[in-house]
Amino acid sequence: MRVAEHLNEALHTLLAADPSVHVLGEDITDPYGGAFKITKGLSTRFGDRVVSTPLSEGGIVGVGAGLALAGDRAIVEIMFGDFAALAFDQLLNFASKSTAMYGRQVPIPLIVRCPTGGRRGYGPTHSQSPQKHFIGMPGLALYELSPFHDAHALLTDMFARQAPCVLFEDKVLYTRRICRDGVVDDLFRFELTGGWARVYADGDLPPDCVIIAPGGLADRALEAMRELLIEHEITCVLLVPGRLYPLEVAPVLDLLRSAGTVCVAEDGTAGGTWGAEVARLLHPALWDTLSGPIRLVSGADSVIPTAPHLEREVIVQADTIRKAVLA
């Protein structure tokens, strides 16, 4: 099963189980079923709980927050994560703040889903990974889809917070197979522990290096790990958190202490990155065990060009990660 179908199935399950769940988004109803088909079949099955909206990202996130404030649960799909910029005020100044600024906990169960990432040739305004712009808003949690995490479990976890969450979903990841039963491929295995996926080569040898990356990077990280193992005899473990922010590092600290090299990879542009935030959390805890500073891999400080040969130059490739580990 592909990740897109898996997420679609998770949404079906969620709506079937809870009549208070409403989904809003542009072009999400059947027969179109959303730009990436993630909401396919939902409107046919759940009727007016699934609404195709005007092109009003700020407005629909506000409506979702209103539904959530009044007692419903709302999921808002932003067609391209880039357009979440138009909903920034509702997320920063209303939804996240309102959970605390009235002096008590106000439940606002709202999930904003954002397809992200390049490698599809959509160009500068349809290819970004805007995760870093949403880091550090009190009351807002950030999640990212991965091939390892169960989408329904992630969505359930987000609603359980009773506070707004953004779920980032890599567009190429949609087309990848989900990994189940601890098996990734012929070489790699995985396990879920404390919200993290730990991906390791069969045999589970102590790693030389730990790579930390959001789910959208998983394919490239694994490709890098395969080459590092086979060509360079360097054993890597990949750690993928389901929740990017706030990041809970305690469950993986022991593993991180066992490796001298830690590398954090992400798709956003350079500067003020998620990786810098991860390094900030990890450096004090790993100071004595690291062989050097945590290595940070991100997209270039650049717009994302449309032509594939130019896009490749600025977006993180497997080779970018491989080189960072070897450096």
Binding site: G62, V63, A100, G103
Partner: protein, 308 residues
């Protein structure tokens, strides 16, 4: 002169004690805040609704306890018209025990029962649409009411919200307190066209009231609210008012002529002249009452907040 609206002159209709009392309470509450600021006893900022007190008093008379009210930066009147809890509001503004939101929200961020104010212009309207849609489903006949100003119409969220509300038939009452000035900028300089024209563009019902008479405002708005409730649709109620005081405090750049014009349209002297005995009695009551509220809240210990 700001704007071109000339209020129709007419005699005031007899006013209920409860209405006049509430208008006067809001007036004295706001005056008390400015006085406390002058003495350095208030922190931060505040936006008083001097000259606009009659609007929330009129509107609140048409609201149901189950209706959800969204308020804005100039929201003390909206709150005081709906809730008999001036102590709690002042405690919130002063960060004292018994505050509505433990002193975290302050003047412009209040959430109490079915009343929520927030400080970014236009932001509440899409949220109000969401709440209205929920009410339509779970409590038919109830509505979401959002107070905004003429300046708010510069925000795109207003149009996104009106569009969705009309498309999806959300029972939404938008109350526009058109005070002809956005902070320091005359509305003639910041708004092309009219509120009526903008509402019409979405097919949203609109009614403008040009009166200070609380009964007249209520009577003119009652059919509009009835349609919002029974037909489940958004409506815009525009009420022409004059902001008597500064935007916040001591930041009024209007000319003395403009200020005189605003004062001429104030409900306060008109009600005083029309109903001298009733007015004098209630004014004295409320003046003394608000003074006691201030004295009571001033000596309270500081509010406590457990940070999440």
């Amino acid at each position: 002169m700001i704007g071109a609206t000339e209020e129709r002159v007419r005699d005031l209709t007899p006013v209920a004690d409860a209405d006049l009392e509430r208008m006067l309470r809001i007036r004295y509450f706001e005056r008390a805040l400015l006085r406390l600021f002058e003495r350095g006893q208030l922190n931060g900022t505040t936006h008083t609704c001097l000259g606009q007190e009659h609007v929330p008093v009129a509107v609140t008379g048409l609201l149901d306890p189950e209706d959800f009210v969204f308020s804005n930066h100039r929201g003390h009147g909206h709150f005081l018209a709906r809730y008999d809890e001036p102590h709690a509001l002042l405690a919130e503004i002063m960060g004292r025990e018994g505050a509505l939101c433990n002193g975290v929200g302050g003047s412009q961020h209040i959430f109490h029962e079915r009343f929520l104010s927030t400080g970014v212009q236009g932001e509440s309207l899409p949220v109000a649409v969401g709440v209205a849609l929920r009410l339509k489903r779970t409590a038919p006949g109830r509505l979401a009411c959002a107070y905004i100003g003429d300046g708010t119409w510069g925000e795109g969220s207003v149009y996104e919200a009106l569009n969705m509300a009309q498309l999806w038939r959300a029972p939404l009452l938008v109350v526009v307190e058109h005070n002809r000035i956005a902070q320091s900028t005359p509305t003639t300089v910041q708004m092309a066209g009219t509120v009526a024209g903008r509402a019409a563009a979405f097919g949203v019902l609109h009614h403008r009231v040009d009166a200070v008479d609380v009964n007249v405002i209520r009577a003119e708005l009652a059919p509009l609210l009835a349609r919002a409730r029974s037909e489940s649709r958004p409506v815009v109620a525009e009420i022409a008012v004059h902001r008597l005081g500064p935007h916040s405090k001591g930041d009024d750049t209007r000319t003395s002529e403009e200020l005189r014009e605003a004062a001429e349209h104030d409900w306060h002297p008109r009600y005083a002249a029309a109903f001298p005995e009733q007015f004098a009695r209630l004014e004295e009551e409320q003046r003394a009452f608000v003074e006691r509220v201030v004295d009571d809240v001033m000596i309270r210990p500081l509010s406590a907040w457990e940070r999440p």
